[in-house]
């Protein structure tokens, strides 16, 4: 990929109508590197393990649907997808609710200690979540929360708050003061202003932080690994890992399970990609 820069130099001569074929060639190369392994996994799921052992890099011959059917009917796939959904939605709701409230105060109220409070939250960006995992486990154990959805949701909300507040605050500050004054003249208090005017206007930013929190939670592995020992509470990442070590000789089954586990995140992201890039623009604005 480092060749990209050298290859780009022909542009010197034609800055405006820069060679489209070259653009496409490079873009195709990028796309190929990104998705070939994924396609391999998905297609591999349509082969049998003997086929894969005989020739690891070939198309299915014949195509078999048995692996996918097996995963969908016999494994805990649906149970785990449900658990993942509960945990991710819970995390997302928690982060957005707590994040908006705090960011609203930090953006629209003038009070002593405001910047201190903001710095206090941004400090969380420096804290590696991984470092806290062992004491977190001990604390959740003492609170008797191990093996419950809360054991995953509450810490995930906490660790997503700093980024959420950092992204939301500029959005909420940017909403013109005049709107607040107008609302006041119409007899709306600050809380009414937050609920009826601020939230609808800040929806793009809310969607962004919501998606980030959701995807992070959906993909999370370390925290669930430690606090969800009960197999009936396993989320999809734990399920995939479990399946792949339990049936390690069933390569085709693992490929099928892995592709099915990928699907929700991919679909979700496809619909939300614009929102994420758009929302981050505020956060990385120079």
């Amino acid at each position: 990929m480092t060749t990209a820069n050298t290859v780009l130099s022909p542009a010197k001569r034609r800055p405006v109508s820069w060679g489209n074929p070259l653009t496409y060639a490079l873009a195709l190369a990028v796309a190929a590197v990104s998705i070939t392994p994924v396609i391999y996994v998905v297609i591999g799921g349509f082969r049998t393990t003997p086929q894969i052992v005989a020739n690891p890099a070939a198309l299915p011959d014949p195509w078999v649907f048995d692996n996918y059917i097996r995963v969908l009917t016999e494994s805990n796939f649906w149970r785990q997808a449900f658990n993942s959904a509960v945990v991710s939605l819970g995390t997302t709701l928690g982060v957005v609710a707590l994040g908006v409230s705090a960011a609203f105060v930090l953006a629209r109220y003038t009070f002593r200690g405001r910047e201190v409070l903001y710095t206090f939250f941004t400090l969380g960006l420096l804290f590696p979540a991984g470092a806290a995992i062992l004491p977190l486990y001990l604390m959740l154990r003492d609170l008797s929360l191990i093996n419950s959805y809360y054991a995953v949701i509450l810490p995930q909300v906490a660790f997503s708050l700093p980024l959420t507040i950092v992204i939301l605050r500029p959005f909420l500050s940017a909403i013109p003061r005049e709107l607040e004054d107008a609302a006041a003249i119409d007899g709306t208090g600050r809380l009414g202003f937050l609920w009826r005017i601020m939230l609808p206007l800040a929806r793009p930013a809310l969607v962004t932080v919501g998606i980030l929190a959701f995807v992070t939670s959906w993909n999370a592995f370390l925290l669930p690994l430690l606090v969800l020992g009960d197999a009936s509470l396993h989320t999809l990442p734990l399920g995939v890992q479990q399946f792949s070590s339990q049936y390690s000789s069933d390569t085709a089954g693992i490929l099928a399970f892995t592709s099915l586990a990928m699907l929700p995140a991919l679909l979700f992201f496809t619909f939300a990609e614009k929102q994420i890039v758009g929302g981050l623009q505020g956060a990385v604005k120079g």
């Binding site: 001569r13 990104s34 890099a57 409230s101 105060v105 939250f121 062992l134 906490a158 500029p170």
Partner: protein, 332 residues
């Protein structure tokens, strides 16, 4: 502030006191208004503060406390041993291997992902038909769960697996290695997998940064006769500086605590020899699975201190200029 706030509050009965009101009344109204403001501030921020303190800050404090004991996690810790756990960690060659591996991952990620991401972001920032689709495809690895990425590459890179077959089929069979089993190679294989997984994140951030570069600047430079390459070098790149530094910062913190991909992709046997261990996998292996809770917490503190110091140094020397303008645009 004060005058605006008074008009804001009809519910409190103090909305815009008429000019004729007695000064004492006005004063009482203002006090009530201030009190009300503080109720709102406290009510709105308390939930966030409580959750944040309880699940982010408190555990780190506890980690330090537990790290001073020899403790197997049953009952309260009693066997106080001072800093012995820390001494033990730095005398364990496996932990030193883990530190070295983390260093490889931190610098390897910055040096490899940075240029790739910049090239791809500049490419995907050009206007051409189908750009949206290509962007989506480039982000795919980043969206996938670490676990699925790990299992996927584990299957592809396994001995006599797909990758080896591919190499053989193009006549490069001689290059085949035990990608995940060779103790000298496994960390570089993992660095490759991490690069594949996370370069998309750098691309997303850089594209967001690029879309903030005003089109007019490019056009002005073009009119002045600058080539596409000159525009990127002298206009776009400098404006992208803050975004690049933020990415470097996030990448560094992420690399220091990397766990999932390493844990899933590399075999426990290889990990336990140190060849593919990182601070985080070492911490979980020893603290959680081997139930050396005191020792594991000491590793947690070391991991935390290293990340924190790295973050502070980075802030101090590189991010300082950006911190107000970029990551935390100062609220008015």
């Amino acid at each position: 502030m004060s005058s605006v706030n008074q008009t804001l509050n009809p519910a409190g009965g103090v909305s815009a006191p008429p000019a004729g009101l007695r000064p004492a009344d006005r004063k009482a109204g203002r006090a009530r208004e201030t009190r009300r403001k503080w109720y709102e501030i406290i009510g709105l921020t308390t939930p966030a503060i409580v959750v944040y303190v309880m699940f982010v800050l408190v555990p780190i404090g506890f980690a330090f406390y537990y790290s001073l004991f020899r403790w197997r996690g049953v009952g309260p810790p009693t066997d106080y041993i001072g800093f012995d756990n820390y001494v033990m960690a730095f005398q364990d060659p496996i932990f030193l291997d883990a530190l070295r591996n983390n260093a490889i991952i931190v610098f390897g990620s910055l040096l490899i992902q940075g240029p790739i991401a910049l090239g791809v972001a500049l490419l995907l920032n050009r206007h051409f038909r189908g750009r949206t689709v290509f962007r989506l495809l480039a982000f795919v690895p980043y969206v996938l769960a670490e676990v699925t990425v790990g299992i996927m590459w584990k299957l592809i890179l396994t001995e006599n697996g797909t990758f080896d077959a591919l190499l053989r089929s193009i006549g490069l069979g001689g290059l085949i290695q035990a990608w995940l089993a060779d103790l000298d190679i496994v960390i570089w294989t993992l660095l490759f997998v991490l690069t594949w997984k996370y370069v998309g994140f750098a691309i997303i951030l850089l594209l967001a940064g690029l879309s903030n570069v005003p089109q007019e600047l490019n056009e002005a430079a073009q009119i002045d006769g600058a080539s596409w390459w000159q525009i990127q070098r002298h206009v776009t790149l400098p404006l992208l500086g803050p975004t690049i530094r933020i990415w470097m910062f996030l990448s560094m913190i992420g690399s220091l605590q990397v766990f999932d991909v390493i844990w899933v992709t590399s075999v426990p046997a290889v990990r336990s020899l140190g060849a593919s261990a990182t601070m985080a996998t070492y911490m979980v292996d020893n603290g959680f699975f081997a139930r050396l809770w005191g020792y594991g917490n000491a590793i947690a503190v070391i991991l935390f201190v290293i990340s924190f110091v790295a973050a502070i140094l980075f802030q101090r020397f590189l991010l300082r200029r950006d911190i107000e303008g970029a990551i935390t645009r100062k609220a008015k």
